[in-house]
């Protein structure tokens, strides 16, 4: 199964654009919002946690359909489904690979974009912490959406429609952590809830995703 993870990472690196695109999108969001909202630092500082989380979420969404689409087109998905590794494990590895090439770079880039949006100094640590804790959930939930829509025409648009409502709890708790952290308030509760969502999703959703994949491969 590690071989699958390594292969996906290698493919992502060689294909280039894959995760660079997500980062570029994240940067664009952070640039466009001040252009739309106006340059006052106070306003930007207030909305920065939310904008950064929404931006990261949308950037993550961009690459979801690639999780299974390429493997489906070239037949590897059929071969993986008949291979000796459990499909649930393969799905979990796909989520992990997706997180490593999108969620992790987004988490690392977020503080830089926080500067653009005048995020208060206390917020940076919590921004990185919440994204590090929350983006794995985005990848796992997104993998589920990708498994539901693999092989469908117009699957990309449908994927967003299915996945975005599922992202609501993660977004709320994640942004709440940063908001409270930036305001110097206690963050334990939303942080724990966020971690709970990530762990719960990572534990259960690979089974649902594998089920959906098997249905789609029939």
């Amino acid at each position: 199964m590690i071989a699958l993870l390594l292969r996906d990472l290698r493919l992502a690196v060689r294909a280039g654009g894959g995760f660079g695109l997500g980062l570029a999108f994240f940067l664009l969001v952070a640039v466009l919002v001040p252009l739309g909202v106006g340059p006052e630092g106070g306003t930007l500082a207030k909305i920065a946690p939310g904008i950064l989380w929404v931006g990261a979420l949308l950037a993550c969404l961009l690459s979801l359909d690639r999780i299974f689409a390429l493997d489906f087109e070239d037949g590897s998905l059929d071969l993986l489904a008949t291979a000796p590794i459990p499909l649930e494990g393969a799905v979990a590895m796909k989520s992990a690979a997706h997180w490593l090439v999108t969620g992790l770079p987004l988490t690392l880039a977020a503080p830089v974009l926080g500067v653009l949006l005048h995020l208060p100094g206390e917020g940076y640590f919590w921004l990185v912490a919440s994204l590090a804790l929350g983006t794995p959930a985005l990848s796992v939930i997104g993998t589920f959406g990708a498994a539901l829509t693999v092989g469908l025409k117009r699957g990309g648009l449908l994927l967003s429609l299915l996945v975005l409502p599922l992202y609501v709890p993660t977004l709320i708790f994640g942004a709440e952590v940063v908001k409270r952290g930036a305001a110097g308030m206690a963050v334990e509760v939303p942080l724990l809830l966020l971690a709970g969502i990530t762990l719960g999703a990572a534990a259960v959703l690979p089974f649902a995703s594998a089920l959906a994949l098997r249905i789609n491969l029939r």
Partner: protein, 211 residues
Amino acid sequence: MTAKDYRVSDLAVARGGLVVLEGVGFTLRPGHALVLRGPNGVGKTTLLRTLAGLQPPVAGDIGLPPEAIAYAAHADGLKATLSVAENLAFWAAIYGTDRVETALDRMNLRELRDRSAASLSAGQKRRLGLARLLVSGRPVWMLDEPTVSLDAASVALFADVVRGHLAEGGAALMATHIDLGLTEAGVLDLTPFKARGQAAGTASDFDEAFA
């Protein structure tokens, strides 16, 4: 490899919610190959996918454990940005074998070893796809049109590889129109098993109400 016979009996398979083949039965013996024949659309691919465990059968017994099967379809599952050896090494890791080098030799891919799969010709890609079967180390090969885009020399090479596999006690089930010159191969014509196209409901009452 086991010396057991693989017996499939009374199998019915469905495509798009309709039963296309029913009552299919055959025995596949180690060391032997079976060639599936029948007009386009009769359900050869559907049968192979069902046997490989990719879709559930509508009815029947499959005495063929999915763990014994290496399945190869029209698409080879190759990654264009990986080299020939990397593609095979990945599948070797997945199947837990170390037969990459043997497969490269047998399929005559050694000098292409470090070329990226994107730069291969269609026939070379096909050979690489079939090399995956050797890497898998599984006894029963299920091949869906394996010789598409192969030239005569490659077809002969492939027939040799299949023969070698059979000689080692493996078995092969393939859907193909080309005569591979395999003396060990039996032929199964699927036309007599064509179903009348009833709905493939799992509930017994389904057909009664839906069609």
